[in-house]
């Protein structure tokens, strides 16, 4: 599968994607002036209120995306490590700690 011969670096497309998913809602919440308005209203709700409630739902979806991206990324790293040191897979942690 993925992995190949080059080890995955600190920054991979998957990690970058996860970082964006995490950053987007943070920036959206902090940019208060962009949503401090009454219109357009939705079902009687002022924009200020329905926008933030919608943002909660969007954040939930982005967190799922970030979770899967990190999961796939970690699996690829594991596969690469397993391929790199086929012997003594359990010794990895202790080895690093001792080094």
């Amino acid at each position: 599968m993925a992995g190949g011969t080059t080890p995955p670096g600190m920054i991979t497309p998957l990690r970058l994607f996860a970082a964006l998913c995490i950053l987007a809602p943070t920036v959206a919440v902090i940019a208060v002036p962009t949503y401090n308005t009454a219109t357009p209203t939705l079902g009687g709700f002022l924009f200020f209120y329905w926008y933030q409630l919608l943002l909660v739902v969007v954040t939930g979806i982005l967190m799922v995306a970030a979770y899967w991206a990190m999961k796939i990324d970690e699996r690829r790293r594991k596969q690469f490590r397993a391929a790199a040191e086929p012997a003594a897979p359990a010794g990895r942690d202790g080895g690093e700690a001792g080094a």
Partner: protein
């Protein structure tokens, strides 16, 4: 249309429903002692962290229990009721919490699992090799948690008031129902530990979700729809106060409130997972991935919180005023439920608030007790304490903490409990650099972290103390002017900036004079490992190399 605030006579049906549900929950709390037992009941991991055995499903309820307190149900809508849009920062805050959790809590989980840390102060001690820093973190955690527990009682008190039992002020005889409820809570926490709130959390959430769904659909239809609710809130909030000649607030953020709104959201989000009770839900999970997997599902709580907040506007539209609520805006939601719902359902809704207060109160007292045991008792009183001694101390301290909170509520009035909780938020945020910073770097010297912490605490406390209003002389506001500017911001965030400045400067000095750094008990690999299997394997190899 106008509805009377309930203060005439005892509401029999409501009281009956609330009592029945309370008895059910108390029984569950006692039964929980035998639920999912994994190891020796004498070990602190068992009582204080539920055997570190909770999977995704239970964790969702448990962390939700931290977020959804009586404070959320009572104080957030009260803030909208009294002051308008600024109170809605609570939604932004619960959005910002999740990305933060996603980033740093898995690391805290891994290192705590590897080294058997039970509290955040345990981690700080291991990482920075400093007992004084860990003591500072532990004391901050306990001091910030106590008024938070007291606030849960304020929530219960306000339900009792609306039902016609209990009192608005403080009188021991009238507070007897509160006292009884609390003794039962204390007893099942003592016997069952963290398993009790974890089990009760199911019932609590069921009640809360049913209540909110019904409230959000049913109450607006009775009040003439959302347009009318927002309209009524807008009109009322714009009415000028005859004394100060200023409006109470508005349904949109007024000029100058943008930064307070943003900093309140950011500061509260950063502070939440510094509270020991919030971390406990994470440390009790079985696997590292549980935390991240849960984050997306946990946003459901944030959504519900948004609707709970809007109950404050519904109370305005229903004609309640602070005066008609006995002078206390905190009664807005219980009084709204009482006026809008048929009495049997009002009983269920009020029980949701009461049980919603019990779960976090139990988790908080356990967290504070663990801090005392691990970072004060073991570190400074009895270093040779056995596992069962630690558990015994924790159990007793959990009782002590709860009765301390009770004395707080009965001795002072509800307003001061809320003031102290606000101060608690300012204090707890000052532990952020030592805990979250420590998860990533050891660049900061332990003494610099301690100095920064002290500076933030002193600045935050003094500034919060100085805030006065027409109604109170101290602690009147969470926001204050940033020094040398005309802009207001959340005091906790300004104090954190002071903290960071002192930290960076003193760190440069300490490194320049080569002050001795503490011993780091952790290794880089400890922060990423993700299962028990791996842990056992690495422990095995460590012993072999030794």
């Amino acid at each position: 249309m106008r509805y009377l605030a309930a203060s005439t006579g005892v509401h029999g049906v409501e009281l009956g429903v609330v009592t029945a549900l309370f008895v059910l929950v108390a029984a569950l709390g006692f039964l929980a002692a035998r639920w999912r037992r994994t190891g020796s009941p004498r070990h602190l991991h068992e009582w204080g962290l539920g055997g570190r055995s909770f999977g995704g499903f239970i964790t969702w309820f448990l962390i939700g229990g931290d977020l959804y307190t009586a404070y959320t149900f009572v104080a957030v809508p009260a803030a909208l009721f009294a002051g308008g849009a600024l109170g809605f920062f609570a939604v932004g805050y619960t959005i910002l919490v999740w990305p933060l959790v996603f980033i740093f809590l898995p690391r805290l989980w891994s290192v705590s699992r590897k080294h058997g840390y039970v509290t955040p102060a345990d981690f700080v001690k291991g990482r920075h090799g400093s007992r004084s820093l860990s003591l500072a973190i532990a004391v901050t955690g306990i001091v910030a948690t106590m008024p938070y527990i007291a606030l849960q009682l304020v929530g219960i008190q306000s339900v009792l008031y609306v039902m016609g039992v209990g009192s608005n002020s403080s009188s021991l005889a009238q507070d007897l129902p509160l006292f009884v409820a609390f003794i039962i809570l204390a007893a099942f926490t003592y016997t069952s530990g963290l398993r009790a709130p974890a089990m009760i959390a199911f019932v609590k959430d069921l009640l809360i979700y049913v209540t909110i769904l019904v409230a959000v659909i049913y109450i607006p239809t009775r009040l003439g729809g959302w347009t009318h609710i927002f309209g009524a809130a807008s009109t009322r909030l714009a009415t000028k106060n005859p004394v100060t000649h200023l409006p109470a607030g508005s349904t949109l953020l007024a000029h100058g409130n943008t930064l307070p709104f943003a900093t309140l959201a950011i500061g509260s989000a950063m502070a939440l997972f510094m509270y020991p009770h919030a971390q406990i839900g994470v440390l009790a999970t079985k696997q590292r991935s549980t935390v991240r997997r849960n984050v997306s599902a946990l946003t459901v709580y944030s959504l519900m919180l948004g609707f709970v907040a809007l109950l404050g506007y519904m109370a305005i539209a229903a004609g309640f005023t602070t005066k008609s609520l006995g002078g206390n805006a905190q009664h807005a939601v219980p009084a709204l439920f009482d006026a809008m719902f048929p009495s049997w359902f009002a009983g269920i809704a009020l029980a949701a608030i009461v049980i919603g207060a019990l779960v976090p109160a139990a988790i908080m007292s356990i967290a504070a007790a663990n801090l005392f045991t691990r970072n004060i008792y073991v570190d400074f009183v009895n270093p040779a304490a056995t596992d069962s001694q630690q558990t015994a101390v924790s159990k007793w301290v959990s009782l002590l903490v709860k009765f301390g909170a009770l004395a707080f509520v009965l001795g002072l009035d509800a307003t001061s409990a809320i003031n102290f909780q606000l101060l608690g938020g300012v204090l707890i945020l000052q532990t952020f650099p030592a805990i979250v910073g420590g998860l990533y770097t050891r660049y900061f010297h332990r003494w610099a972290l301690l100095l920064g912490w002290a500076a933030g605490i002193v600045y935050g406390t003094v500034v919060a103390w100085q805030q006065s209003s027409a109604a109170q002389h101290h602690f009147a506001s969470q926001v204050a002017l940033i020094p040398w500017t005309h802009q207001k911001a959340y005091i906790a965030v300004t104090a954190l900036v002071v903290n960071l400045v002192v930290l960076v400067v003193s760190n440069l000095v300490l490194r320049a004079v080569k002050a001795p750094a503490g011993v780091d008990a952790t290794s880089p690999a400890d922060y990423d490992h993700d299962s028990d299997l791996e842990q056992t394997a690495s422990v095995a190899t460590e012993t072999e190399t030794v």
